[in-house]
Assembly symmetry: C2
Homo-oligomer: 208 residues x 2
Amino acid sequence: MAATSKTLGVLLFPQFELLDVCGPLEMFGYVPDLTIHLVAEAEGPVPSTQGPALLAECSLEQAPALDMLLIPGGLGTRSGIENEKLMEWIVRRSTTAEWVLSVCTGSALLARAGVLDGRRATSNKLAFEWVRAQSAQVDWVDEARWVWDGKYVTSSGVAAGIDMSLAVIERLVDAEWAQRLARQVEYEWQTDPDRDPFHRAAKDPATK
Amino acid sequence: MAATSKTLGVLLFPQFELLDVCGPLEMFGYVPDLTIHLVAEAEGPVPSTQGPALLAECSLEQAPALDMLLIPGGLGTRSGIENEKLMEWIVRRSTTAEWVLSVCTGSALLARAGVLDGRRATSNKLAFEWVRAQSAQVDWVDEARWVWDGKYVTSSGVAAGIDMSLAVIERLVDAEWAQRLARQVEYEWQTDPDRDPFHRAAKDPATK
């Protein structure tokens, strides 16, 4: 067990995608000595795109030191990219975090904030053009389950965040532990970051 | 689009398993004309086993008429089976619901409440003996991703709830729509209820 005591901060905003947050947290919730903090503009309930609300325990200003950052996607990213306060927080906290993760269109927030400049990154296949438009300084990878570049790990759409999280947990603890965790929650972990069945599906008009 | 206006009630209790609730709700949250109600003993935040809290909008008594019921699993089922108020609510609401779904050890709550008597049902492979012990009147199926018997649909562990939910959505709307939804959230839907790779893994000491 290689894990040492760490903190993971998850950014919530109105209309975040429920599984972008709860898929990863199902997995990170089992990692020993990892403390999860749900952070939002204001403390209190934050409604997801799907309706159910998660409770943010602290505001952006109140958030403690965060070793890891998780930025979800969802419809709320459309207004999120225009939110200066959110953008500044992402820049500031990405600078100090050891690892910065995004799920789905969460990479649009990172790209717009400028923290992915010069890096490889991916996003949801069905929203890719909008995400790409947030920054021309990012080397966008349109066929990947997730992309790891330095301390930044960006995943493809929604469910891909679960596969990415297990890969991060593999580095945080070890491979056997991550495999056992996936088995415990009866999840068939796609361990290959380059295997992306949804890249092709998105290009095929018959599947739209 | 075959769906008509329906309500889905999700039972929350302290230490529910986060993905048991949020996996299915990611999918049900997209179904047109379906209203989701999070129900708990008391209105307000309910903490999951993983830490993050979901907000229950109504108490057991306040819950409106529910066409569908979703009962999650998690560590909280251990005290849940001893909670008379919860058991009575499950019996009363299962009687009037058109469909009753459970994820993981949620079937232990249904079994203990007696509503699965004479029916086929499944649960998490790693907690199966404890679940089985809640009722000898249930025909327990230990190799299945999910089991559909009449109006009761019980799924295997945690992530299996997502596959089951898509199967329910297939009946609620149609197969093409459910497939498109899975693709949209980049989830590789296991459509075969009898395919259960975790049954064998649970019996293999090398994987424990």
